[in-house]
């Protein structure tokens, strides 16, 4: 069933950064267009290499699905007269369809009855007649974050389009875009195979491009090949004495910079090895996209790996040329390193004053000073909890917060931005700072991306939290709040970082306090117009809690539990997390219904009334007295348990309370004739609800009602 469709958009060299975006877009758009056109298919596979986006639609049906449309006219009662003859209305309707009344039928419309109407079936067209428009639309609908125009054409794409191949099994699907007509011609490797390659059948595509065109279209295969060549080097040639540093981001880039990869080993002079390891590795990787190679003791060796866009370095010229380039690059890196050596942290701190953090919100130096204050504030907040009994880290934290942004103005980081934090740590060590301080300069940038490592020390964690909250708060003050997919300052990622660091440090503090203090610090120094501090504070808090929610959702956790906890207004990430874990475990190991249903019963009764105190003397029945005393005795106990964060025990207490609540409802009539007694009972139920609410709003849980 069905045949394959091959669609290749031939371009000039694509930026690696847009390739993922391109194939994802291509698949999505094509899928929509095919479905809209009622064409059935098994699967869409997409590929990308430096000069092409490719989609292969597997098992694409040859005929469009037919479409049945029902056109209805007047209701039966109006369409025919008493004698069963057609009325004017029926005749008019038939005329509008160019039909006779006798051609029409009675059609039942759900809930409305019988109508005069007609089922019109549109027969499916041949796929090959539709595909030209579909592919053209697909291409024109692809969009990229960075687009360009070229020559005098009215089209935007990521790079100029130079050919289009569109083949349905063995038939060309013709369409025109700008100066191009689609055909069955593709092009291989730019220099190794400059001529046109004709593809007569979709099944020949990959084979011909590889054999005639010297192109491996599938990036997964190119990646595999690079890794295979590297591991062959390591095992066969180097016999395990050297190891290639496989930086994942670099590898991704390199895979997408070549149409066919060939790895070559080069060497650079020993003289550069004196550079600190991480700086040297980055200098090897950054501009030229080479892989660094470590020796057995883990130090950088003079070897490096070039991945050539080709099959073989026939004359040795590629190796020689790249060696020359790396030598000059390293020379430049040592120049910057030596320049930096002439300066110290005082110099850099001064320079920080000139680096704008954000327009209207002062310099990076101002930020560093805020970080110092925020960190100390946070330490004070944590004295009762996360840091209790640990060594006083305040002095180190103060030093680290003032030093942590300094490397932004060093020559090394200006030249190699990815080294921020790493250079700071290195220079701090070289200048004799304590290692705890030096390490936290690096750690405060963690996590740098989703799935990255987190800071390992309290100083690193606290600084990381303070830095991120400060940036988020600042951006909210400046009105740069992320919306939709637009998050140019990566605030969502920063908020995730805050959450993860809090959880790692087990820091229990109300976000609102720290954020409020942060806003105060901003407003003291800068006076942005119309800043509503308390509004921003709650927006920032909600923003961070929303990221916590997102992280839980990603892990497949239950959002109803989170909502139940958030409802009473909980604002400490750690506290929320502990409650979450306790409730989740309780649901798995015990029966949450014994908490849930009593809560629902209580809630159903009390509604949104005004409440007062419970008057003990008005309690007459045994089970209301019992409920009262049970609430009274549990109240202080639960309060203690909440303070101790022993939420499992809280749940056990509430579970026991459930029995008493149930007995109360079973034995006592709340709606007593005596208004006073009735009110008193409602107040009593409210007390029970309040007690439940110290843990969570259980009525928000999704519970199997059986």
């Amino acid at each position: 069933m069905g045949k394959d469709l091959l669609f290749e958009i031939g371009t000039e060299e694509l930026p690696p950064s847009c390739m993922e975006e391109g194939v994802t877009g291509l698949r999505k758009v094509l899928e929509n267009k095919l479905s809209e056109s009622r064409l059935e298919f098994k699967d869409i596979l997409t590929y990308v290499s430096p000069r092409r986006f490719v989609a292969i639609v597997k098992g694409l049906g040859e005929i469009q699905k037919s479409k049945e449309e029902i056109v209805t006219g007047p209701p039966k009662g109006i369409a025919f007269d008493k004698n069963g003859g057609p009325t004017k209305a029926a005749e008019g309707f038939a005329r509008s369809l160019n039909l006779k009344v006798s051609d029409l039928e009675e059609i039942e419309i759900k809930g409305k009855g019988l109508y005069l109407g007609k089922r019109i079936t549109e027969e499916g067209k041949k796929a090959k007649d539709l595909l030209g428009d579909i592919l053209k639309d697909t291409l024109l609908s692809m969009s990229f974050s960075k687009q360009m125009t070229w020559s005098d054409y009215d089209i935007k794409f990521v790079r100029p389009i130079r050919w289009i191949l569109a083949l349905y099994d063995n038939e060309i699907i013709r369409f025109n875009i700008i100066n191009l007509t689609s055909g069955n011609v593709t092009f291989g490797h730019r220099t190794l195979s400059p001529g046109a390659i004709i593809i007569k059948n979709t099944g020949d595509y990959f084979k011909f491009l590889k054999s005639k065109g010297a192109v491996i279209v599938d990036s997964a295969k190119r990646r595999e090949l690079i890794l295979k060549q590297i591991s062959k080097l390591e095992e066969k040639l180097w016999k395990g004495k050297y190891k290639v540093v496989l930086n994942e981001n670099l590898l991704k880039d390199v895979v997408n910079l070549v149409e066919i990869p060939n790895t070559i080993t080069g060497n650079f002079p020993r003289g550069f090895l004196y550079m600190p390891k991480e700086l040297l590795i980055e200098a090897i990787q950054y501009h030229q996209k080479y892989f660094a190679v470590l020796n057995k003791s883990g130090n950088v060796s003079t070897k490096f790996i070039i991945v050539q866009n080709g099959i073989k370095d026939t004359t040795g010229g590629v190796k020689k040329g790249n060696e020359r380039v790396l030598k000059a690059r390293l020379k430049d890196a040592t120049f910057f390193y030596e320049e930096d050596k002439k300066h110290d942290f005082n110099h850099w701190t001064e320079k920080l004053k000139e680096v704008i953090f954000f327009s209207g919100l002062g310099s990076m130096y101002d930020k560093a000073v805020r970080l110092k204050k925020l960190s100390i504030y946070l330490i004070d907040l944590l004295h009762g909890s996360g840091l209790k009994g640990r060594q006083d880290i305040s002095p180190d934290l103060v030093s680290a917060s003032l030093l942590c942004k300094c490397d932004l103005v060093t020559s090394m980081v200006v030249e190699f931005p990815a080294l921020q934090g790493i250079v700071g740590r290195q220079y701090a060590k070289e200048k004799g700072e304590k290692s705890a301080v030096a390490d936290s300069i690096f750690e405060h940038y963690l996590p740098r991306f989703a799935g990255d490592i987190l800071p390992s020390t309290d100083i690193g964690l606290i600084l990381s939290i303070a830095d991120r909250i400060d940036t988020i708060t600042g951006m909210f003050i400046a009105g740069k709040i992320p919306s939709g997919s637009a998050d140019p300052f990566a605030l969502r990622r920063k908020a995730s970082g805050v959450v993860l660091s809090i959880l790692k440090g087990k820091y229990d503090f109300e976000l609102a306090g720290l954020i409020g203090y942060n806003i105060k610090l901003y407003l003291e120094s800068f006076n942005p117009k119309d800043t509503d501090g308390s509004k921003i504070a709650s927006e920032v808090r909600d923003f961070i809690v929303a990221r916590f929610r997102f992280l839980l959702e990603k892990k497949g956790k239950r959002l109803d539990i989170l909502d139940a906890i958030l409802e009473p207004g909980c604002g400490s990430i750690m506290d929320i997390d502990l409650r979450y874990t306790a409730i989740e475990e309780f649901i798995i190991n015990r029966d949450i219904k014994k908490i849930y249903f009593p809560v629902i019963r209580c809630r159903n009764i009390i509604g949104k009334k005004e409440f007062g105190e419970v008057k003990e003397k008005l309690l007459v029945e045994e089970y209301e007295k019992k409920l009262f005393s049970s609430i009274e005795s549990k109240k202080s106990k639960i309060k203690d348990l909440v303070v101790k964060k022993d939420f499992t025990s809280v749940l056990i207490e509430l579970d026991k309370l459930g029995t008493v609540v149930d007995q109360f409802f079973d034995k006592v009539l709340v709606m007593d004739k005596d208004e006073k007694i009735k009110t008193n009972r409602i107040n009593l139920i409210k007390k029970a609800v309040d007690l439940y609410m110290t843990m969570a709003d259980f009525s928000r849980l999704i519970v199997d009602k059986r």
Partner: protein
Amino acid sequence: MNFQGIIFNLQKYWAKNNCIIKQPMDLEKGAGTFNPDTFLRCLGPEPWNVAYVEPSRRPTDGRYGQNPFRTQFFYQFQVLLKPSPDNVIDLYLGSLKNLGIDLISHDIRFVEDDWQSPTIGAAGLGWEVWADGMEVTQFTYFQQMGGFPLKPVSAEITYGLERIAMYLQDKDSFWDLSWSDSISYGDLHLESEKQWSVYNFEVASIDMLLDLFEKYEKEFRKVMKKGLVFVGCEYVLKCSHVFNLLDAREAISVAERTSYISRVRDLAKVLCSAYLEQREKMGYPLLKKDKK
């Protein structure tokens, strides 16, 4: 092929491919892009195909002659093709072949490098072209100049002549390149490179430069009032170069930097807008020529 031979070769090649061959502009500038033959001619609908050598200055790139290929002075070979032809990359590769570069045994790579020159409100998308890892050319499709979107789009091909020469002559340093059979690049430029590095980083009078910037800016406004677009263009370039010198002297704080850049950009914008207006008034003479 020696250095001057490369220039002859490229000139011949691009002349054969419908470019007029112009000579450099007699003014300091950071790149061939600043030459009005690119800066202004890329604006508006008129076709324009040109090639020229451009001596270029980037004060902050000086290394006192210590780095084998980072210098504050160097030569560019600039080609501007407007509108960009469909076979522009093949044309470019043809020029490399014509220089004697064997494309099959070398690794020629187009690596994404989107180009921006905030001082003249210019932006383009394209690549740096690597030959065995060495950046030998900057290849850009201009999208915007002076803040104005461009249509048609020009392709700008900027060869780094020294780098190409290193490659062709198999030399490790600019200074070892042969300019002619008897004279080396170092003979011609090493001493001046050292002196200019000293001047740019250590000696240039900051007060004078700050003062010049103000004066050039003022002069620009004056000449533009008279509609002297080509004169105005030179004052924009002078401002830009003075700014680069101040930058090398670290005389401009980061905050001030932004404001200087935006001042030059404002001039560029006024200039480009005036040029566009003038060409329109003239009825786009080169458009008519093209039609004939």
